[in-house]
Amino acid sequence: MVKKILSCLGEYKKYAILTPVIIVGEVIMETLIPMVMAQMVDRGVANKDMSFILKMGALMILMAVISLTCGVLAGKFAATASMGLAKGIRKKEFYNISNFAFSNIDKIGTASLITRLTTDVTNTQNAFQMIIRMAVRAPLMFISATVMAVLINAKLSLIVAVAIPFLSFVLYFIATSAYPRFMEMLSKYDKLNARVQENLIAIRVVKSFVRGDYECEEFEKAADAVRNAQLRAERVVIWNMPAMQFSMYACTIAVSYFGGVMIIGGSFKVGALMSFVSYILQILLSLMMISMMFVMLVLSRASIQRIGEVLEEESDIKDDKGNEELKVEDGSIKFKDVAFSYANDPGNLTLESIDFEIKSGETIGIIGGTGSAKTSLVQLIPRLYDVIKGQVIVGGHDVREYKLNNLRDEVAMVLQKNVLFSGTIEDNLRWGDKNASMNEIEEACKAACAHDFIMEFPNGYKTDLGQGGVNVSGGQKQRICIARALLKKPKIIILDDSTSAVDTATDAHIRQAFKEKLSDTTTIIIAQRISSVADADRIIVLDQGKINAIGTHEELLKSNEIYKEVYESQQKGAA
């Protein structure tokens, strides 16, 4: 998992390696500077040797400059490496998600995918930055300070030998017991925020059911849970400071006493005592850093794991075996004993024993109640999902024989839950055909009955839609989506309840235009309204995932109960 994520570094790998290398220089300087300081005091000041002080002073400034240079470079490289990692992760995730099949998207869920591309990346990037800056510094500081302490006075170093295991144990204990508590707190906090978000989205529901007080009570419970979880977590973490202080103070006292005795005995110097104390503190401090790093790594584990899942997720639909040369020749469609299940479970079928044939250029209507699997059926044609049994044959070949692009370029689908993207209307229409001329665009919009209302906007085709196409009404959006699909000039076009917000008259106009201009194109129309499908060549009636009947409007009215019932429900009361 970690390896996979590190591979996202790409060209920034060298910075990730350089950072700790340069930090070595910084650490060495930081270790040496206190020694020079001690020399200044012990030899220079004590002997009132001005030239020595000046020499050491200059040396110290030089070292500080070197240390500064290293620090600045390391800081810059760390930023480049970690931001580069974030960029790489985002890119790899985005690319991989782009290759996902619908079933992959359904499995992880859009909201979760977004988090994995945003918050999780930020967390990982921060943890990574901290680690490349600390991973070398902390152990190195630990080692060098230990070496220095031993060099200065091996006997006194025994004090550190007691302090290190003590502090390590305490820090380890704190980190390991804080982790699950922090995770718990975060999940409670997520729930709390989710609750607020839900209340914001559904504020009208809350208000109209007069559930404000109820929601407040529930929120208080959630907030209290967060508070308790936070208390539990922080209660552990606050031991850090006193534990650190305790070790530090204990060492200072011990060093002062034993060191003092040695000084009195003549085997130790005042300046050496002072730098010894500072090395001990460096040792303890580096332990602290190691424990922080450990905590940080552990806390970002969840994010790393979630990103890894996205990177490792393989698309359920692959076309590596597809034939590059194979193009969809005509708009004929054939379903051969097709069964389909979203869960990939033969015991929980969404579609079952689907058998039918559509000739190229035919217009087919599909009618069925809520949940009768109309959408599932048509999604198999552009291979948005794979069948679990049987075959879907488009243009004479099994859909699995095509390259996905070759197949989908010829099968346009206007989805039920359709989306426009930020940008102008024209930008959106060009999704169908990048190089379409303005004439072609207008032509498509006229066929979709969109041209007139687009021209009524002050900026016409250049009207900006805003994120998610918020500036147009539902019916207008649907018509733009139809035009967008038409611009693809596909051999098969599928309208999945695409005119539900369009009134009957416009709906009829659109169908008329389809008939005139797209006579060679196979058209499949899913609709709630009988009038939308009545003049189709044939109509498929779906019921609970099975084909109930296929026939023309007149035939079905005569012979099919469901169709008759739907028809009557829409005619009842008409004058």
């Binding site: 220079g44 810059k76 988090t115 914001l200 103070y249 200072t252 429900s569």
Partner: protein, 650 residues
């Protein structure tokens, strides 16, 4: 030296794990503007701690103790060397008792210091979590009372950021900055005093160089801040693009648009990288710059100090301790300047939170309340303490008397003019009269004002007195909650909550039994699909019911309204995604439920409204036709055109 190191540690961020907020933010103090009135905001934060005054006093005392012990640690070396070590050097049988006494004294002080640190940390956690809890609850409680208009004019993102980003900065301020500021403050003042006492001349050198360092650090910080703003902007662009493309991923795939979107994404991703790299570089440079500049300062002080020692101005021990103080002086000073940024940012966040809390709540001067009622044969109404399926308006009068009016669902609009913005009216003089037990339908194109009418009936928005009457009572006199309890609305956009199917339906009536829920679901024709869900009525719905189809969500929303069993029902495009056959079944169920009660129906689909008692055709905020289906067809007006498909609704 001990002091320096301790600060070194505490200035590093405490491990607190990933932020749960949606988008990552800058590390500290570089985003957005500062607070408008810092003093007032601080006071307000402290007002939340008023019941914890005792704890606060202990906290401050302990911080002071802990800091003083820390300073003592630094000051410890001088007397140790001067008084107890140097005199004994070279003695054959040195008397260590004084030395040991001093060491033990120090040990005692240190233990007290550790204890004080522990106590204030522990109490601070109490105080900060409790304060945060109180502010949070206040904020949510107020949010629930805000008028719909507030939510129209503020984006969800804006409000959410008060709960996540702003709350996080306040939390960090309370649990970290507060203690650190006191700590650093005492350190600076204490160290400064001691330094001044040791050598005023050397102190001057230190102060001048500190200002120099702070100037450099400040310049770096400004740079970093500028790029953090840029990073934030680019992050917003990238995250916006991610959201849009993932939500529209299915469309992207249907159009084989993957490659184009990758190109767009790469471009945005690259811009973000550039800004983030610069911002973080400057931020990363800050610490080494500060550290190393203070080394330079140390060297300079040492050189100048030595000159003084040689000249005999100060003694050796004084210089030694002064040099210690030099190191432990620059640390807290830069720390304060850093903390200052963080605190300013937190105060700005707190200010935004308090602005929300201070937002004007929905005004409600209503005093007429809804009660369950017993109505005898003569029409006398008495209040009941149980649900009787009859309701009455309890109307207290100025003279202290009470009258009861039966809730029948009679709604009158008299020449109502209304606009969401003052300069744009949506309704232009609407008058209507709904008789109890009638089914009233509104049809008309988008923007004609259909939904607005229902928004006024339940007082999501207010109109001037007397324009709308409900059972003959001016609706502004009816308490909002009671008014809304008397109506169930199924809204155009169906919203479900995280929880089980059962819990979602129960939202309509919190004490509903499982049987009542099942009946309501059957009535709404939702029962059959609920039974097919993996766990039936106990299936969890997530993210606004994303695992259901639009039609199924609408069925659940109708069941939720049905279980409330209200006197008045409003269906706003409630069946738009439900097939007509199922719709008819629901209609039959609802007709049974709502017999003798009033139903308002808004629909696009004319088949939905056809069998209403009265159909109002709206256009440009005016009712242009009214009557039942037959009458309107006979009129051969707009409705007739709509019905026969001669006219287009958009």
């Amino acid at each position: 030296m001990s002091e320096e190191k301790r600060n070194d540690y505490s200035s590093g961020s405490r491990p607190r794990g990933p932020r749960p907020g949606r988008h990552g933010g800058p590390p500290m103090g570089v985003m957005g503007g500062g607070p408008k009135n810092a003093g007032k905001t601080i006071k307000r934060i402290f007002s939340y701690m008023s019941d914890m005054k005792g704890q606060l006093v202990i906290i401050v005392t302990c911080i002071v103790i802990s800091t003083i012990v820390g300073i003592m640690g630094t000051y410890f070396l001088k007397p140790l060397i001067n008084n107890f070590i140097e005199p004994l050097i070279g003695q054959k049988n040195p008397d260590l008792s004084e030395f040991i006494k001093w060491i033990l004294l120090m040990a005692g002080a240190y233990i007290i210091g550790c204890l004080a640190t522990f106590i204030y940390s522990r109490l601070m956690v109490n105080v900060s979590t409790r304060t945060i809890y109180k502010i949070r609850v206040d904020m949510f409680n107020r949010m629930q009372k805000l008028p719909i208009r507030y939510f129209d004019t503020h984006t969800h993102g804006e409000i959410m950021s008060c709960y996540s980003n702003d709350m996080d900065t306040v939390r960090d301020m309370l649990s970290q900055s507060f203690a650190q500021l006191i700590n650093s403050g005492i350190n600076v003042v204490g160290t400064f005093t001691v330094m001044l006492f040791l050598s005023p001349l050397l102190t001057l050198i230190v102060v001048v160089s500190i200002f120099l360092i702070m100037y450099i650090v400040g310049a770096l910080g400004k740079r970093s801040g500028k790029y953090f703003m840029m990073q934030q902007k680019e992050l917003g662009a990238v995250n916006g693009y991610i959201e849009e493309s993932i939500e529209g991923l299915k469309v992207i795939k249907v159009f084989c648009h993957e490659d184009e979107s990758k190109v767009d994404f790469d471009e945005k991703n690259d811009k973000l990288f550039k800004a983030a790299e610069k911002a973080n570089s400057y931020a990363n440079i800050m610490m080494p710059a500060m550290n190393n500049l203070s080394y330079v300062q140390y060297a300079a002080t040492c050189i100048v100090g030595s000159i003084f020692v040689i000249a005999g101005n100060i003694d050796l021990g004084t210089l030694a301790s002064f040099l210690q103080f030099t190191r432990s002086f620059s640390m807290p000073v830069t720390q304060i300047s850093q903390q200052f940024n963080a605190i300013m940012q937190a105060l700005a966040g707190a200010e935004r939170i308090f602005n929300l809390i201070d937002e004007e709540p929905e005004t409600d001067n209503g005093y007429v309340t809804l009660v369950n009622a017993n109505i005898d044969e003569d029409g006398n109404i008495t209040e009941a303490d149980k649900r009787t399926d009859r309701w009455a308006w309890k109307h207290p009068h100025h003279d202290g008397s009470l009258t009861y009016t039966e809730v029948k669902g009679k709604v009158e609009f008299e020449d109502v003019v209304f606009g969401y913005e003052s300069n744009k009216t949506v309704l232009n003089g609407i008058s209507l009269y709904a008789k109890p037990g009638q089914k009233i339908a509104f049809v008309g194109s988008t923007g004609a004002g259909k939904t607005t009418i229902t928004n006024l009936i339940n007082r999501f928005y207010d109109v001037p007195d007397g324009k709308i009457r409900y059972d003959g009572i001016n609706i502004n006199k009816i308490k909002k909650d009671d008014l809304r309890k008397s109506q169930s609305i199924v809204l155009q956009d169906t919203h479900l909550f995280t929880g089980t199917v059962k819990e979602n339906i129960r939202y309509g009536k919190l004490d509903a039994t499982d049987d009542e829920i099942k009946n309501a679901a059957k009535l709404a024709n939702a029962d059959f699909f609920i039974k097919h869900l993996p766990n039936g009525y106990d299936t969890m719905l997530t993210a606004d019911g994303a695992n259901l189809s639009q039609g199924q969500r609408q069925l659940l929303a109708i069941a939720r309204a049905a279980v409330a069993d209200p006197p008045v029902l409003i269906l706003d495009e409630a069946t738009s995604s439900i097939d007509t056959r199922t719709e008819r079944l629901i209609e039959e169920g609802m007709d049974k439920l709502m017999a003798n009660r009033t139903v308002f129906v808004i629909a696009h689909r004319l088949s939905t409204v056809r069998n209403s008692n009265a159909i109002m055709v709206l256009e440009n905020g005016e009712i242009i036709e009214r009557g039942d289906h037959e009458e309107l067809i006979d009129q051969k007006g707009k409705y007739y055109q709509l019905y026969t498909g001669m006219f287009e609704l958009s």
